[in-house]
């Protein structure tokens, strides 16, 4: 019985191992942030004309020479790129993301003003998408062909519609033809519904496709049949046994979801004239507001990294094999 003995050997304390894993993640997350910042910095600082003019360049601008000189000096536009980079990283380390060209306020503040609505939107959409996917998958897995056909067709169609197209269709249907929801703005629940649905539906559709396939596969597993030989009903088996297994591969889609939420926010916020990070990101890129673009990139990378760490934790909770094996 040596093989058995092998399996029962004492393992180092679980908490210390999780802590160590967490530290590694934080370290690599920091690296990713630095990398993302550096890559974007150099991508954005390819010399393209005079940033001072860009900075002051509203359509109706007519700055005086003194103003131009002031701007150049203040932003260090005359410094070599390497110096600008080092200064940038130096400021970054002190938590200073610089000042937005357009918004004329610290990037941190500019982002702070916008992050709320985007976070609410993204969070709501994520919850809606995940809940929808789980409910629909649970209800339709292992069902008759008609139900499966209808759900898989619907999810295929929804997963195929680009987000902005869906947004415009919803906007047209609900705001113009049947004006149930207000069509623009950020405040209040009623203004959240359409944008959140726009973001959530395609994600829910993709999630449903994966989750349903997983559930169907898990339902074929011997342990499910075993549970049923004990006298457990199908619904109970799905909930108590199958769901958790099926959710494990879905957890790996978090990256996909996060990317979709952040990317989708740019389009959805534009379509629905919503305030938020997506909108200012787009505007910042169009107006070449480098500090703000950099800030948004860093924020996105940070969100991505943090969420991945969280997912790792959730993941090891979902699948104890990862922490114990």
């Amino acid at each position: 019985m040596s093989a058995v003995a092998d399996l029962i050997t004492k393992r180092p304390s679980a908490t210390s191992r999780i802590l160590k894993a967490l530290l590694t993640r934080v370290a690599s997350g920091t690296f990713v942030l630095w990398g993302a910042a550096t890559l974007t910095f150099f991508a954005l600082h390819v010399p393209k004309g005079d940033p001072a003019i860009t900075l002051l360049g509203g359509a109706e601008a007519q700055p005086t020479p003194e103003v131009l000189a002031q701007v150049r000096a203040e932003w260090g536009f005359d410094d070599p790129i390497a110096v600008q980079y080092l200064l940038y990283i130096g400021r970054l380390l002190r938590g200073d993301l610089g000042t937005s060209y357009q918004q004329r306020m610290p990037v941190v503040d500019a982002i702070g003003l916008q992050i709320g609505p985007t976070a609410v939107l993204a969070f709501t959409s994520a919850i809606v998408a995940v809940v929808l996917a789980i409910v629909i998958s649970l209800l339709t897995s292992g069902r008759g062909r008609l139900v499966q056909g209808v759900t898989s067709t619907t999810s295929l169609v929804l997963a195929s519609i680009p987000g902005f197209v869906l947004g415009i269709i919803l906007l047209f249907l609900f705001a113009a033809i049947i004006p149930v929801f207000p069509s623009s703005g950020t405040q209040g629940l009623s203004r959240l519904i359409l944008p959140a649905l726009t973001l959530a539906l395609p994600i829910a559709a993709s999630l449903t496709q994966v989750l349903r396939a997983e559930l169907d596969e898990v339902l074929e597993q011997p342990f499910i049949v075993t549970a049923r030989t004990r006298g457990m009903g199908l619904a109970a088996v799905k909930l108590r046994h199958a769901l958790r297994h099926a959710l494990i591969p879905v957890a790996t889609m978090t990256g996909f979801i996060v990317a979709n939420l952040l990317g989708g926010a740019v389009l959805v916020e534009t379509v629905f004239s919503r305030q938020g990070i997506g909108r200012i990101a787009l505007e910042a890129v169009q107006k070449q507001d480098m500090p703000l673009v950099m800030g948004v990139v860093l924020l996105a990378a940070l969100a991505f990294t943090v969420i991945n760490v969280v997912v790792d934790v959730v993941y090891s909770f979902l699948d104890p094999r990862l922490t114990t094996a």
């Binding site: 180092p12 049949v225 549970a227 006298g231 297994h245 699948d319």
Partner: protein, 557 residues
């Protein structure tokens, strides 16, 4: 005799296919009485599992179950609703599914799994349930049940998992226990323990239906045996009669196919020998070894792996052995004892941590890469999982072609040689354009052998080459290997955990445990008068039809 607790007659089960219905169980009739054990045997795919699953209404969503009579404890269950089934399952019928290792929810505690029938069918409080779970685990022989109940299935060995599964099946006190292949996935020693457990259960509980593809396994506990083939019961009767006086040809075939000491030197299958001698070129290895050196010699081989936790694990310790021309060396040992590792070191798929491998008397490590390859070509492998060893995109033609290319067979004659090889392993020429996935397990193993032969090896390493196969198919492959050895004069390094198989094929044997050789020598000698206690344990665990008879006669007299 009392009324049967399971009474089946005229059972037909069909599955809905793209075309229509495909019948896999036909007109099956049997009965199980209280206190007795009926064994259902037959090769893979014969319909044993489907039959048993029909008894709990879980034959499958796409199944159609018809029967003249389908009664459990006197009640007709054929037209049961889902909720009626739920009442029966677990409470009156305990079921141990075929796939023991995957039959427990890997994400839940073992205790929760065992407690589930209690939760569903009794009104014990959760405290009482916990207590009962511990009791049950103890009853089925799980050591430290309190600890085990709080572990998850993957933290348990296969044997413990099987026990937990049985505990869960009997938790709510069903009078009938159905066990589908309860020992297949297990080591011989562990399997023997489980069989003993089932024997006790048979004595204490009501009726038992046991399913196996292995006659020798069931011989120990079955009162009656039903032999299935292609969905039909071909023979049914008292265990004694079926085992020792089989009436049906198929039963006889099955019995004959079991490799063991008794079958040494004889053919297991009724196929005729592949007598053709192939014109075999002498490999580089053989010409080197002509000086009388062994083809393979391992000297003090050790292998250490670093685990994910950073700790080093010695999986092979100071192993030395030699394989000579034309002989068969068997390696036995329980799972994880390092058999495969040894084979991979010889094959050069892995470098030894210390020690050296000599091929034809030359230490391989001292040679240049090109010469190493040259020499290694003389050693070819046939693995347990033939499917995995083929590029999934390749047809048989490409598989063989690649091997022949490596063997420097000129392009023009590769075709002919491929067909020769197929003929040698008794595959039809048409097989050449099929993909591995489109072949049966036995056919795949033949292709693997053909591929190995394509390189004109002096040694073939067969690592569990027959473990995944049915007895009858296994018999054919064992026969084939024997034929090839006779015809081509190759040496065999035969690795298996099945002592019967080793006893059947090997000249000499190494017994391994925990990475070391505990005993070695002539197979007859080792198997008849083992010196190491571990060898004795191993031998005791082999189910023997003869010993079964002895004990049965002893018991009945």
């Amino acid at each position: 005799m009392s009324a049967p607790v399971i009474d089946v007659s005229g059972l037909n089960v069909s599955f809905r296919d793209s075309g229509g219905y495909r019948r896999v169980v036909s007109d099956v009739e049997f009965a199980v009485h209280s206190g007795e054990c009926l064994a259902l045997v037959g090769e893979s795919g014969s319909g044993k599992s489907v039959t048993s699953r029909s008894l709990v209404g879980l034959a499958g969503d796409n199944s159609l179950v018809e029967a003249d009579r389908l009664e459990i404890e006197g009640a007709d269950v054929l037209r049961n609703t889902e909720s009626q089934w739920r009442d029966i399952r677990g409470s009156r019928l305990g079921f141990v599914l075929q796939d023991a290792l995957a039959s427990l929810d890997s994400l839940r505690h073992v205790g929760a799994e065992v407690a589930e029938p209690l939760r569903l069918h009794t009104d014990l409080s959760s405290r009482e349930r916990d207590a009962r779970v511990i009791e049950l685990l103890r009853d089925v022989g799980v050591p430290e049940p309190e600890l085990r109940a709080r572990q998850r299935p993957f933290e348990l060995s296969g044997g413990l998992r099987q026990r937990a599964l049985i505990a869960s099946a009997i938790a709510a006190g069903p009078r009938i226990l159905i066990a589908d292949e309860p020992t297949t996935a297990l080591d011989a020693t562990i399997a023997a323990q489980i069989l003993r457990l089932l024997e006790t259960l048979k004595r204490t509980s009501g009726a038992m239906l046991m399913i196996s593809h292995d006659l020798s396994v069931v011989s120990r506990i079955a009162d009656r045996i039903a032999v299935m083939k292609a969905g039909v019961i071909v023979e049914q009767g008292d265990a004694e009669q079926v085992l020792f006086d089989p009436k049906h040809d198929y039963t006889k075939q099955l019995l004959a196919a079991i490799p063991s000491e008794a079958t040494r030197g004889s053919r297991l299958s009724d196929t005729s020998p592949a007598g053709r001698t192939s014109s075999r070129a002498t490999s580089a290895l053989e010409s080197r070894a002509s000086a009388g050196a062994p083809l393979i010699e391992a000297l003090g081989l050790s292998k250490t792996y670093r685990g994910p936790d950073g700790r080093e694990r010695v999986v092979l310790k100071d192993m030395s052995f030699a394989v000579h021309r034309g002989e068969t060396l068997g390696i036995v040992g329980e799972s994880g004892s390092g058999k495969t590792t040894a084979a991979r070191l010889i094959l050069g798929a892995e470098l030894p941590s210390s020690g050296s491998v000599f091929l034809g008397g030359v230490e391989v490590a001292t040679l240049s890469r090109r010469h190493q390859r040259e020499l290694r070509r003389g050693v070819q492998a046939v693995h347990q999982d033939p499917l995995g060893s083929f590029d999934p995109r390749y047809t048989v033609r490409k598989v063989l072609d690649e091997a022949l290319r490596v063997a420097r067979v000129p392009r023009g004659s590769r075709m002919t040689r491929s067909f020769e090889l197929l003929d040698l392993v008794r595959l039809l020429p048409a097989t050449i354009d099929r993909r591995p996935l489109e072949l049966s397990g036995g056919q795949r193993q033949r292709v693997a052998i053909a591929r190995a032969l394509a390189l004109d090896p002096a040694v073939i390493i067969a690592d569990e080459a027959v473990s995944a196969l049915d007895v009858s198919v296994q018999a054919q492959i064992l026969d084939l290997l024997g034929d090839v050895q006779d015809a081509a004069g190759v040496a065999l390094l035969f690795i298996s955990h099945d002592l019967g198989v080793i006893h059947h094929v090997a000249d000499r044997v190494l017994v391994m445990k925990d990475g070391s050789i505990v005993e070695s020598g002539d197979v007859e000698h080792v198997f008849t008068c083992p010196s190491a206690p571990y060898t004795r344990t191993l031998l005791d665990a082999i189910p023997h039809i003869e010993t079964a008879r002895a004990s049965r006669i002893g018991a009945s007299s």
